[in-house]
């Protein structure tokens, strides 16, 4: 337990020192502010581009649309930022030979991986909730029509957070397999963006973590049996992936 506490503290210190928390905050929270403002300005910008033709008549930009836009940005951009920020979390341990210390001292590697997962899960979940609240507030000021209730947005946020936990564990697994962090990041980005294609296969759709994103985008999240099963499957994937990551690290050969 004491080694886990030490790993936990080390991970927080390292995150602050390498500005990983700052980059994650920028990647997740910035769009919460930027998206509603850009959507408000978009009709005016397009009007300038199309010589007086008011394109905004063809678009129905409201509170719901603004929050959906933020959700899409979280999926498209925040995922890339997370992958690029966390790609080195495990590969750097191996590359810099820091992993030798727990291995030679007989300390448990489970604690190392769990501490890393826990720290970044807590940080990313907190940033996601903060981002959604900021986005909700800004969207409400700029688009007072067609308001979505805060409880629906928070439910969607919860699903996004669970999905992002899966992304974190996936990045850790890949970075324990590949020696170069960038390869792990690119492969995890590839898997993340391939999932929307695989979800078209009906038999698999409910068992993939992307199903959570699909449900979250509907806003009308009802925790029925299908969604609960999907959440349980995603949590199972996270546990399995973390166990494989720990196993990989135990078998690693340090040159």
């Amino acid at each position: 337990m004491s080694s886990f506490k030490a790993y936990f503290k080390k991970e927080i210190t390292e995150g602050i020192r390498n500005y990983k928390f700052l980059i994650l905050a920028i990647g997740i929270i910035l769009f919460a502010i930027l998206d509603p403002i850009m959507l408000k300005l978009l009709p005016e910008i397009l009007k300038g581009q199309t010589q007086g033709v008011d394109i905004s008549q063809f678009m129905n930009i409201n509170h719901r649309f603004s929050i959906t836009k933020y959700m899409n940005d979280i999926y498209n951009i925040a995922n890339i930022v997370i992958a690029l920020t966390l790609m080195g979390v495990i590969t750097d341990e191996i590359k810099d030979k820091n992993i030798v210390i727990p291995l030679t001292k007989g300390l448990n590697l489970e604690g190392l991986v769990i501490a890393k997962t826990l720290v970044y899960s807590l940080i990313i979940t907190s940033f996601t909730f903060v981002g959604f609240i900021i986005n909700y507030y800004y969207s409400q000021i700029l688009f007072p029509e067609n308001l979505v209730s805060i409880s629906s947005v928070m439910k969607s946020c919860l699903l996004y957070s669970i999905y992002l936990l899966f992304v974190i564990s996936l990045i850790y697994l890949l970075s324990s397999i590949f020696k170069r962090g960038i390869v792990a990041a690119l492969l995890s980005i590839l898997i993340i963006f391939t999932m929307p294609l695989i979800i078209n296969i009906k038999i698999l759709s409910n068992y993939l973590p992307f199903y959570l994103i699909k449900q979250a985008n509907n806003f009308n999240v009802i925790f029925d049996s299908t969604l609960t099963i999907s959440i349980l499957w995603t949590l199972t994937y996270i546990v399995i992936i973390t166990v494989i990551t720990i196993d990989r690290l135990k078998r690693i050969e340090i040159n």
């Binding site: 920028i26 408000k40 700029l142």
Partner: protein, 70 residues
């Protein structure tokens, strides 16, 4: 543009973005001056940070920042 808003309301709306962006740029520039860079030269990183909004500073923090043990 933005008919329903007064100048003060607009300033309040944009203030977090402006403060956020400026702080990030200043922070990265100070970091370059104090610690140096990697992968690209200092003038190129300065141009990227100044000209590219948000993505410039983020890409510097990810790929250009010189770490203590570099």
């Amino acid at each position: 543009m933005l008919e329903g808003f007064t100048a003060f309301e607009l300033l309040k709306l944009f203030a977090p973005l402006i403060i956020f962006e400026l702080t990030l740029k200043v922070f990265c520039i100070v970091k370059i001056i104090k610690d140096g860079v990697r992968n690209l030269s200092i003038p190129i990183w300065l141009i990227i940070i100044v000209l590219l909004s948000t993505f410039g500073p983020v890409s510097f923090l990810l790929c250009g920042r010189r770490r203590k043990y570099d």
